[in-house]
Amino acid sequence: MSTRWWAAACVVLATAGCTNDKGGGEQAIVLHPPTDVTSLGQPDHPIAGPQGAVPQFVVECAYSHAAPDDPIVAPGEFGAAHLHAFFGNTTTDANSTIDSLFAGDTTCDQRADLAAYWAPALLRGAEVLRPVKSTAYYRPGIDVDPKSVQPYPKGLVMIAGNAAAEEPQPLSIVAWGCGTGIARAVEPPECAQDRNLRLIVTFPDCWDGDNLDSPSHKSHIAYSSGGDCPEGYPVPIPQLQFSVEYPVWGATDDLMLSSGGLLTGHADFMNAWTPERMQMEVELCLHREVVCGIASGRTSG
């Protein structure tokens, strides 16, 4: 159905100071293609609109670093992924594990959030655009009983969106917007000056209760519908909406994602919140149905 493209390349990791340079010499690297997996289900509608209507806790993270690494899809294989922009944990690379993340630091304003967040890099021509920041909104899934939401298990990994998509993805999972507005589009819109372009990716909110990961990296999690989790995914978890903000206004015709065309938006998450804090946020904010914080109005981090 869709074209899987495999590629190989011999890469010289010669850039001075490259943190991922494990040998300094030449390495044969298998480039992994963007993963082509469709999630089970999708949110009932795009999650957009004024903040303050539903319970949430929010974490804003500065951009950390970029690398062609993917510890979920290509663990241990440095340089084997398309270029990713990393947020949150400052140590994320191909070798990252939950333990290594817990030994790292974070760019997030919530210091107990040592999770690794990443998205494909956005390019303008040959130039990699440095993101302004990311915002992670954690909420109950649409119409899900907030009191039923359970903290993420330590070490849960998730991918949302289809990195190999050739058709528009559901706006409820992957969308683009300007500033913090309600409008959602399948490809980057032309934003007004100072209204940063945003990629908005919404993660599954139901878990199978057993597996921190799965061969497809998606079949252990699913989206709720009508407020209920589907069969086989009995555990409601917070719905993570991850948004990346870029200093991009105006024309978008020379933009592309490192994973391919502009339709390949996706994002990845490795849960390395300190478990006590994650549980506290879920209980205090979601169970008590409180807006625990609002993403700030600043356009710059």
Partner: protein
């Protein structure tokens, strides 16, 4: 803000596609191995990996000097650090009605409160210091716990807020100092029935004091000094028996700024009563500042898109733009359409049930039907009294002005154009085009950029007034708020010396 695209100086990987018909092409994949340049060298202090809100150290505390007979002897008093090492531990041990009494010391805590009817009090406002060290988020955050009062302490260096109530019915913050915080100093969101009094707030990019997303709010802000913030007071989408009285708002970018906007719920901002305040010198381009603060700079009391507010008997002087400015708020990338006047009575709770719609790229919230009476204004250099509109003729906005002491207005002769009657709007006369204010040129101006809140120059923290009888007063949860304010007795303040 300027964010430069990072130009990758790394190599390109020429990756050949192996199979694939129309996809046969060489893809250049930027491999950009250069993470390093942007790795935060922050690899940090020994505390990494878990400095969450419950961890804390009460550094340098000494035994309290409280007198022998104190509130501390009552059964429901939890003493920090004598009985509990941290404020959080005392809060967690508390039952509704308890008093957490905090002795002098520096507390590196982000305290979370989820128990109703607590009173959390410092023994000395100037010596009980909550310090976020630029890492912790909120000094004290009250989450859906009703009637919690926080009294007589200082919070500084928090990445979010000094003192924060959200989702509560009943709150009070008294004799609090908030200094150098990443969002707000003292902050109530989605909360009703409250009181914020005897506050000193400095060094926030947003507002020193903020009440947002409530209608009717039923709250009082009184006896505040707010300076060197982006905004002195901000109140987005709040109002309904909300009084801002007897306070000083100075040396911010802008002074008192109630505004409407669809980025949060419960629009429009409405029915805020602003009486007896001193508002001066809000032209400070050296503060940290969010976007609204950049735009509002140089105004004393400015109401971007607010409606049905009452602004009476304030002293407003020394502003580059307007003393009292009733102006539109242009909102790019909005989150909902602007409600019509027939929806201004919708409560916040009802508004939460409504589905927003996409209104397009831009909405303009016109400020309407505000009442400006008996204020004293001088040296506000665009105009003492200022009215502007974008989408309609300003004569249709329904504002009224009476009995103000002023020199200039835009348009000219504003009290003749838009007079007030005793309880409403009179019939005006005159030419609204005479001296009409050019709001579009204001919106197009360059503004001094924001300064990092962590390093902005602030006045040195001076000793602030303590609450009376901190050591002996019994617990006083916030179930008697807001206090009664005799608005009629408030007179225009006199100008402070200097």
């Amino acid at each position: 803000m300027t964010v430069n695209a990072m130009t990758i100086n790394a190599m390109t990987i020429n990756a050949m596609t192996i199979n694939g018909g129309e996809h046969q092409m060489t893809r250049k994949i930027l491999a950009a191995a250069t993470a390093v340049a942007f790795l935060l060298a922050a690899c940090s202090d020994d505390e990494e990996g878990g400095s969450s809100g419950t961890e804390s150290t009460a550094a340098g505390t000494s035994a309290t000097d409280a007198p022998e007979t104190t509130a501390a002897e009552a059964e429901n008093v939890r003493q920090v650090p004598d009985e509990y090492d941290t404020i959080q531990a005392a809060v967690d041990a508390s039952a509704p009605g308890d008093l957490v009494l905090v002795g002098p010391g520096t507390y590196n805590e982000a305290v979370q409160v989820a128990t109703d009817d607590l009173t959390i009090r410092g023994l000395d406002r100037n010596e009980v210091i909550l310090d976020g060290n630029f890492e912790l988020d909120n000094g004290i955050r009250v989450l859906g716990a009703n009637h919690v009062a926080v009294e007589n302490m200082t919070a500084m260096n928090y990445t979010k807020n000094g003192f924060f109530w959200t989702g509560v019915d009943g709150y009070r913050g008294s004799y609090l100092t908030a200094y150098r915080t990443g969002d707000y100093g003292v902050y109530a969101f989605d909360s009703i029935n409250g009181q914020i009094d005897h506050i000193y707030a400095a060094g926030s990019p947003d507002a020193g004091v903020y009440i947002g997303e409530c209608y009717p709010c039923n709250a009082v802000v009184s006896d505040v000094v707010s300076e060197y913030n982006g905004l002195g007071y901000s109140g987005t989408n709040s109002g309904g028996n909300l009084l801002i009285v007897n306070s000083t708002w100075r040396y911010n970018r802008a002074g008192i700024v109630p505004n409407s906007g669809s980025y949060e719920l419960c629009y429009p901002e409405r029915e805020t009563t602003i009486v007896g305040n001193i508002v001066h010198g809000n032209n400070n381009g050296e503060t940290p500042a969010i976007d609204v603060a950049l735009l509002a700079m140089g105004n004393g009391i400015v109401v971007p898109g607010g409606v049905l507010n009452t602004i009476e008997r304030n002293l407003v002087y020394d502003h580059d733009k307007g003393g009292i400015s009733l102006v539109p708020f242009p909102e790019e990338d909005p989150n909902d359409a602007i409600p019509g006047e027939d929806e201004w009575t919708v409560s916040c709770e009802e508004a939460k049930q409504q589905m927003p719609v996409d209104p397009g790229d831009l909405v303009i919230w016109e400020s309407m039907r505000n009442r400006v009476v008996g204020n004293v204004l001088e040296d506000n250099r665009h105009a003492d009294l200022l009215v502007a509109a974008v989408t309609v003729d300003a004569s249709t906005l329904g504002h009224c002005f009476a009995d103000n002491t002023f020199t200039t207005s835009a348009p000219n002769n504003i009290e003749t154009l838009a007079p007030c009657t005793a309880d409403g709007v009179g019939v005006g006369s005159g030419d609204w085009a005479d001296g009409k204010y050019d709001i579009l040129s204001w919106l197009g101006e360059e503004h001094p950029p924001s300064v990092d809140w962590k390093t902005a120059t602030l006045p040195e923290l001076q000793p602030q007034e303590n609450m009376p009888d901190a050591a002996t007063a019994p617990a006083r949860p916030a179930n008697d708020v807001p206090m009664q304010v005799d608005l009629a007795s408030i007179v225009v303040p006199t100008k402070p010396a200097g």
